[in-house]
């Protein structure tokens, strides 16, 4: 698992993909921070993380799109599957590589938070809640986008499908307000990422929201493992 993680992380840092991700995420976040926090004299730290939750929809698929399609095209998946490691270890190695990149991209948020703390007031509980929310949401996003990358051989399609799937998870709240149907509302309540994100970011230690993010991550990673294993049988 560590070998796969190391290789993927190295590949991120040596290829343009990792930097495109970092560049896009940081530049959009920087812009959001300037417009919504700095320019409006708003020291609400939740804003920063709340926008982050949407920006990630666009940039996380960049991170995950090459994880499986490239291996299948170059047939390098053969060395991973025939190596004495399980498919679970291989998938987790890839997941943690993408997650490590995500963690790297969170480092600059410290400056934004620092800026707000100096020029305004930040409540410790809210700050902790926001960080917990973003860390959990990042994991769920990566797992969802990884599944989309796993079922296709094309990086472009992997990106598009990852993007749209994440979009559905994130904006389904809006959809439910437009379509006034009890079934749709129920469904949205089940899958909505943003509503749980907001709960956590108020500083409320909502166990059900934490459980939701963890289970989304686990279920999607499990599906990826099953799909790869299934492919050996067909």
């Amino acid at each position: 698992m560590i070998a796969v993680w190391k290789r993927e992380l190295r590949s991120y840092l040596k290829s343009p993909v990792g930097y495109v991700y970092l560049f896009l995420y940081l530049i959009i976040m920087g812009a959001c921070f300037s417009i919504f926090n700095v320019a409006r004299y708003n020291s609400e730290v939740s804003y920063y993380f709340y926008y982050s939750c949407y920006v990630l929809i666009l940039v996380v698929p960049i991170l995950t799109m090459k994880l499986f399609p490239e291996e299948r095209r170059n047939k390098t998946d053969q060395i991973l599957i025939t190596a004495p490691i399980s498919i679970t270890q291989m998938v987790l190695g890839k997941f943690f590589a993408a997650y490590s990149m995500f963690l790297i991209s969170l480092i600059p948020s410290v400056f934004a938070v620092g800026f707000l703390a100096v020029n305004g007031y930040i409540e410790g509980g809210i700050l902790a809640g926001n960080y917990i929310a973003i860390l959990l949401a990042g994991a769920a996003y990566i797992a969802i986008a990884m599944l989309m990358a796993c079922i296709t051989e094309s990086q472009i399609i992997a990106f598009m499908m990852g993007f749209f799937t994440l979009l559905i998870f994130a904006i389904c709240d809006v959809i439910s307000t437009v379509i006034n149907n009890s079934f749709v509302t129920k469904l949205v309540n089940v899958i909505s990422i943003t509503s749980r994100f907001q709960k956590l970011s108020t500083g409320l230690f909502d166990f059900s929201a934490i459980f939701y993010f963890l289970s989304i991550t686990t279920v999607f990673l499990f599906l990826i493992i099953r799909i790869i294993d299934k492919r050996r049988w067909s």
Binding site: A3, R7, S11, I81, P84, W233
Partner: protein, 315 residues
Amino acid sequence: MIEVKNIVKKYGDKCAVNDVSFKVETGEIVGFLGPNGAGKSTTMNILTGYLSANSGTAVIDGVDILEDPTAAKRMIGFLPEQPPLYMDMTVREYLNFVYDLKGCKFPRKEHLREICELIKIQDVYDRMIKNLSKGYRQRVGFAQALVGNPPVLILDEPTVGLDPRQIIEIRNLISRLGKKHTVILSTHILQEVQSVCDRIIVINKGRVVADGDADTLTYNTAGNRRLVARIAGGKAEIKKAIRGMDGVLFIDELPQKEKGTYEFLIEAQPSVDIRKPLFRMLAERGWVLMGLKSMDMSLEDVFVNLITGEGGAEE
């Protein structure tokens, strides 16, 4: 060392491998021979755990690949048809990655250095794999299979796409590796099995159609006996006379090589040795037998026989 038992693999309705069983002893170099699409790669992919069989199993050194796949995989070095190389890595990074991936316990530097010396890739050790030539890429693929010193090597068409000199080098390498490892290699090139392998398994349409060493195969499947005779005398009469002999099935003229003599290709029934009667007949008629050569069936003929005997190589 390796025992394959009744492996069946279906892709939809099509049976890629149909009830394949064979055994490979420790230290053997076994050639897997068959036309394209015969099921060679599929069988190898099943052995290495890349694919799963619909039924049947394989035992590698006492370890069942279904019961303990990880332990079985640890014993196998696999070089797939297309070497599984990461283009964005240097050879050094790549081999270190494979070393970690296989969880090797040897002293890392020495182990990798030994492999590089054996495969002769020291001079490209720090180059990016994407900048290497096809021959070097194939060798890096070999090196990858050797990392961890697995007792079994499975090589899927190891010489495809290489130039003749590289092919000879790779064959020599396989022969040398065969002294320490059990090797299964697949190919559709006949000289390859002839020059490298101790044993040949011919596979066609997902079935094993022959299994044995090169001599046994040529002996068993050889149908008719063929002779080339060089005779001085009148062409047409000789031809006619020979055709009239008992047991002769077929006679054909070959291009003239010596003035005043003619060469004929004679095919006789397997049970009949026509050399003696031929000599006597020619002597009686006053023709001179200048040379007689028996044309044993080449492995190539055997192969074609086996494959067409099964009703065509590919549909």
